[in-house]
Amino acid sequence: MQLNILRELAYRGNFFTQIFQSLLSLGFGLLGLAVIFDHTSMLDEWQPAELLALLGTYQLVGGVINLVIQPCMQQLMREVHQGTMDFTLLKPADTQFLVSIRQVQIWKLCDIALGLAVVGVALAHLGATVGVWQVLMFIFALAAGGSIVYSFWLMLATCSFWVVRVENILVIFQDLYQAGRWPVSIYPSWLRWTLTFLVPVTVATTIPAQALIGQLAWPALLGIAFFALLALLLSRWFWLFGLRHYTGASA
């Protein structure tokens, strides 16, 4: 992992490109909000500052996914495809841990930093209504949401032991993640259902933002935590199950 970061640090030019791209993507979101709130003062019970918090969360979580989850899982699938997975399996550490941290796109930290800044600005606007307790809930919900997204990706990547071309399913995740920019409550039920149970977008964006602005009751939060734990265990089990059935390209 250290080697990886050093390798990325060698390409400083990418840093400026990434800052530019992160700012563009943030500007994209902000312009969207500006156009929307030119015509209305509330979007489905969400005030401008609250939607700003959601946008920050969206950028933050997107950053985490692009920083480590997506690059790692894509590399895993590539290795299975090319047969070099065998070498990774031989290494004397837990393979799941290894495959989950070894590919880091360090410059995506820009997205995370910008996301945090936006959440900060939103908090300043919301002012008195946000307490320490809500910030804690936010962090907790983020962790749970992140775990669920990670488990989802790991399970899909594990599928590549049997089916060679799963990358395409991941394209869908990126498209659907776009929907997380807006509160899921506005979508028609079939889309909301998809974004919540089929592909974990709601838990990663709307729910943490709701926790922050105090619209999430603690039983719901406990439910999410339970769900996250379940997802982690399930993906772990599925991964081990997959490994047992993995025969390699050469063996």
Partner: protein
């Protein structure tokens, strides 16, 4: 001319077979293309409902019609050749393309048209199903329908030329992903992908009039749906014709300049 036709026939055949091979990926790309209009359709409908049924004269049904037609026109004008240009230059595939006796744009046009025709088979039922969910309201008249097709063809040609030129910038920069993202943001807001341009602040509308984006997408959509008066229709068609010439000139100039640079790099 006759050879060119034969070339196109051959290209259609190979691309057709290629897309049949990659049918799952193609369908998945398509889902992404439909999802975005649906997201903004929902956002605007939510606002319209909260404002008592309409935003600046656009009711929920009008938004539905706008975004569903938009997703179709977006599919028909869409083009991804600028992604391929990166690989072409990086892997040296372009040298092989240059050896062929005809301009590489012909192969791209043929491939692009094949994809669009094949994918209409999936796209039309999808949009039809969405129409059942979202209840679009539109009054299409015969004369706008007749004008729609030429303006759609112009839009396809302009977008293809502009995006092909965009792909050519790879001769000058190695940071294509940033260029493409900037293009995407401009396209999203100024072409009407986010919503009808009349809902935007006046300076943005003026900017959109001066740039090619809305003539590649929003104009044919609004033309078909009868949301434009005669004056705007004539203006739009003239603007489209002008941008067709401009983008053709741009593409030619960039292609010749770029090629000189490319051979200068030692290939």
């Amino acid at each position: 001319m006759k050879t060119l036709l034969a070339v196109y026939r051959a290209q259609f055949k190979t691309s057709f077979l290629m897309y049949l091979q990659y049918r799952t990926s193609s369908v998945l790309w398509l889902l992404g293309m439909v999802l975005e209009p649906v997201i903004y359709l929902v956002v605007w409908s939510t606002i319209a409902r909260a404002n008592g049924g309409a935003v600046d004269g656009y009711g929920v049904g009008d938004f539905a019609a706008y975004f569903l037609v938009l997703s179709l026109v977006n599919h028909l004008t869409d083009n991804w050749v600028y992604y391929e240009f990166q690989e072409r230059v990086r892997q040296g595939l372009l040298s092989a393309l240059l050896l062929r006796p005809i301009h590489p744009i012909h192969a791209d046009i043929a491939q692009n048209l094949t994809y669009k025709c094949i994918m209409l088979v999936v796209m039309l039922p999808t949009v039809g199903a969405l129409a059942l969910v979202f209840h679009p309201a539109a009054h299409v008249m015969l004369f706008t329908l007749l004008l729609f097709f030429p303006s759609l063809l112009l839009a396809i040609a302009i977008r293809f030329l502009v995006e092909w030129s965009l792909g050519l910038t790879v001769f000058w920069t190695t940071q294509m992903s940033a260029v493409l993202q900037a293009y995407y943001v401009a396209l999203f807001f100024l072409s009407g992908q986010m919503g009808p341009l009349t809902l935007f602040p006046v300076p943005v509308q003026l900017l959109a009039q001066l740039l090619p984006f809305q003539w590649m997408l929003a104009f044919p959509v609004q033309l078909l749906l009868g949301q434009l008066d005669q004056h705007a229709i004539v203006l739009g068609l003239v603007a489209q014709a002008m941008w067709l010439c401009l983008s053709l000139a741009l593409m030619t100039v960039l292609w010749h300049r770029g090629l000189r640079r490319y051979s200068g790099m030692g290939a």
